[in-house]
């Protein structure tokens, strides 16, 4: 199995720099997800690993061997494309066998390997069909089969599920995870969907504007976002963020958000009167009184029932927020919510100017 190392990797398109010198160490057998908004450079980074884009500066190494000048075909990496890229004139068997035929593998070996892979992916009944005769999920599986069949050192996935409907996406997500467990091949997966990132990744790399914002396990990123961007990107719905001013009294630190006062955790490096961003996740907010916590008045706007939970769209001092609350089978009682309670130890405080988190959260505790 193989590791992938990116050192000071940059990508320029003419004068435009789209990847800003990123460093990343991907360990053998690890499943790393690059996540970020459109245009953040995640696909470009993946394509540089694949060899489909030239690397403007820095190095990409697989197993410590620098790949900058190695052709895609000689990197021993396989890629699953967003649009499948199945050869429409070839049947499923030939699509999967394509790479082996190009490499002039013996016929018996091709036949055996393709059938094994088809078995793993449940494609055996479809080997004689052309891509046009398959459903979206089946096509995606063929695309994966084409990648698996060569036993590459690294799998690269470029938003492979984004063309599937929601139900199929959930199903395929689980299949990819199962496949990774079974094969244990180092995988780099690009997506803009943070749910995919959270569910699949051993580690997530959050990218923004050509930079890596944070690297960590899904739970690290969820509980300890390094900055406002990560806090706003990871989690569904994302972390609520309010502008406030720090004040202190005998009970501790508070942030004044309009007329409301939010109790802050102990933070050493903030000053009285300092403008900060207060962050609290929708699922950490309580709508029921909690001992020792001040109530924060809110203006409720809308209740969105999701079944066992509901999203309450509200605002504090005209700053929007979302609360995730349990319905217990009924949403009537949620329509009258007028205040919330924010557990102090789950609140994040961000520097208003830099966006960096001021208090990290070593324990990563999540409200029950």
């Amino acid at each position: 199995m193989s590791s992938v190392t990116l050192s000071d990797v940059e990508k320029y398109y003419g004068p435009l720099r789209v990847v800003h010198g990123i460093n990343l160490e991907i360990e053998s057998q690890e499943f790393v997800v690059l996540v970020g908004p459109s245009g953040c450079g995640k696909s470009t980074t993946l394509r540089m690993i694949a060899g489909l884009e030239e690397i403007s500066a820095g190095t990409v190494a697989v197993d410590e061997k620098v790949m900058n000048r190695v052709a895609p075909k000689d990197r021993d990496v396989a890629m699953v494309f967003q649009n499948y890229a199945l050869y429409p004139h070839l049947k499923v068997f030939e699509n999967i066998a394509f790479g082996l035929r190009i490499r002039k593998e013996p016929k018996e070996h091709i036949d055996k390997t393709v059938r094994e892979v088809s078995e793993i992916l449940g494609l055996t009944p479809y080997l004689d069909r052309r891509p046009a005769e398959l459903s979206g999920g089946q096509r995606q599986r063929v695309a994966m089969g084409r990648a698996i069949v060569r036993h590459p050192k690294v799998f690269l996935f470029d938003e492979p599920l984004s063309n599937l409907d929601a139900q199929l996406r959930t199903q395929m997500r689980a299949e990819i995870k199962r496949l990774h467990k079974r094969l244990g091949v180092t995988s780099v997966y690009v997506t803009h969907d943070q749910v995919e990132a959270m569910t699949l990744a051993d580690r997530i790399v959050v990218m923004n504007d050509g930079n890596i914002e944070q690297v960590g396990t899904p739970m690290e990123l969820f509980t300890n976002p390094a900055n406002q961007f990560v806090a706003g990107f990871i989690g569904s719905p994302p972390m609520n963020q309010f502008e406030g001013t720090v004040s202190a009294n005998a009970d501790g630190l508070f942030a004044s958000v309009g007329n409301a006062s939010i109790a802050l955790p102990e933070v050493n490096n903030v000053q009285h009167g300092q403008a900060v961003i207060v962050g609290i996740r929708p699922e950490h907010i309580s709508i029921h009184p909690v001992d020792g916590l001040p109530s924060i008045p809110i203006a409720l706007d809308l209740v969105e029932p999701l079944g066992s939970e509901a999203l309450l769209h509200a605002s504090i001092d005209n700053q929007p927020l979302i609360i995730k609350a349990e319905t217990h089978g009924d949403i009537e009682h949620l329509n009258s919510v007028s205040e919330l309670y924010a557990p102090t130890d789950l609140i994040k405080v961000f520097d208003k100017d830099t966006g960096a988190v001021i208090n990290s959260h070593p324990t990563g505790r999540i409200a029950s």
Partner: protein, 293 residues
């Protein structure tokens, strides 16, 4: 059945105008074929007298007998096959790789080469310089010269280049990841995906070669190298100048017109046979289902 109640008056009027225009176009296209076939099977007298309109008059196959026993007809027929098959093959050998190279964004100087190729569509040296060029290259009266001189056609290259450009880049990338080099990408992916375009261009080449007349007449002198179209011209000239033929033409079973028509019918048959085979590629594309757009 079309439910005309669903259409507005404007739509109905449009449908009628379109149908009339298509009908006229069909007649204009089809009639010359029917007329030539009818003349070829008519007697020389009837053709000469202008009696043939739609069907053969005084049905006879004398015109065919006249040309089919002429060894020069068969030599020119063979030559036309050589020029058509050889010329088309050589053309495709140049056109396909050129179109592929010009369609690749990574080609250095791609803009210049595209401009360079397109330039030859609008400007060329003209008849005399071209002739002198062929003479200096020792390609006059040469079958190989005829094949080589017209091997590259800028229009066809641009047509195929545009088709290649429309093929999603991910096909090429997937093939490269699978280990394919440029030739394998072209041969195993682009050519199979471009069958409709390649079939179209092949047909263009076949028809152009099959009907090639002017340059063959200018560049070829030997009787044993001329194609069918030049033989046709020679035959028309010969029959028109033939006094004996002219004297007997009033009761002749064949005439210059019927023999010409018979040669034309013979020359059309192979193209008519090839067309249906290529036709299937025109009907639908092949990219369906390969990529999710």
């Amino acid at each position: 059945m079309t439910n005309w109640n669903l259409y507005s008056r404007g739509d109905k009027f449009f449908a009628i105008v379109v149908s009339v225009l298509i009908g006229m176009f069909t007649v204009a296209t089809l009639y010359p074929f029917i007329y030539i076939a009818a003349v070829s099977f008519s007697s020389g007298f009837a053709a000469q007298a202008g009696k043939v309109v739609l069907t053969p008059i005084d049905m006879t196959v004398e015109a065919y007998k006249y040309i089919l026993v002429d060894p020069e007809f068969w030599i020119s027929y063979r030559n036309t096959f050589i020029y058509t098959i050889g010329g088309t093959a050589v053309s495709m050998l140049f056109i396909i790789p050129a179109a592929y190279a010009l369609s690749r964004p990574q080609l250095m100087g791609r803009r210049f080469f595209n401009l360079f190729i397109a330039f030859t569509m609008w400007f060329n040296a003209g008849l005399i310089p071209f002739y002198l060029n062929m003479r200096d290259l020792n390609l006059l009266d040469s079958m190989f010269g005829i094949i080589l001189a017209f091997a590259i056609n800028a229009f066809n290259i641009i047509l195929l280049r545009n088709f290649f450009e429309a093929i999603p880049q991910s096909f090429e990338e997937a093939a490269r990841m699978d280990g394919a080099n440029d030739f394998q990408v072209l041969w195993k992916v682009f050519i199979p995906l471009s069958k409709p375009a390649i079939a179209t261009i092949t047909l263009f080449c076949i028809v152009a070669r099959w009907n090639g007349f002017f340059w063959a007449m200018v560049l070829l002198q030997s009787q044993e190298k001329i194609p069918l179209q030049v033989f046709l011209r020679h035959t028309i000239a010969k029959l028109s100048d033939d006094d004996e033929f002219a004297i007997t033409q009033l009761d002749a079973a064949y005439s210059a017109e019927t023999v010409t028509a018979a040669i034309i019918v013979c020359s059309i048959i192979p193209v008519l046979l090839v067309y249906p085979w290529i036709q299937k590629y025109f009907e639908k594309g092949i990219l369906l289902g390969g990529v999710k757009e």
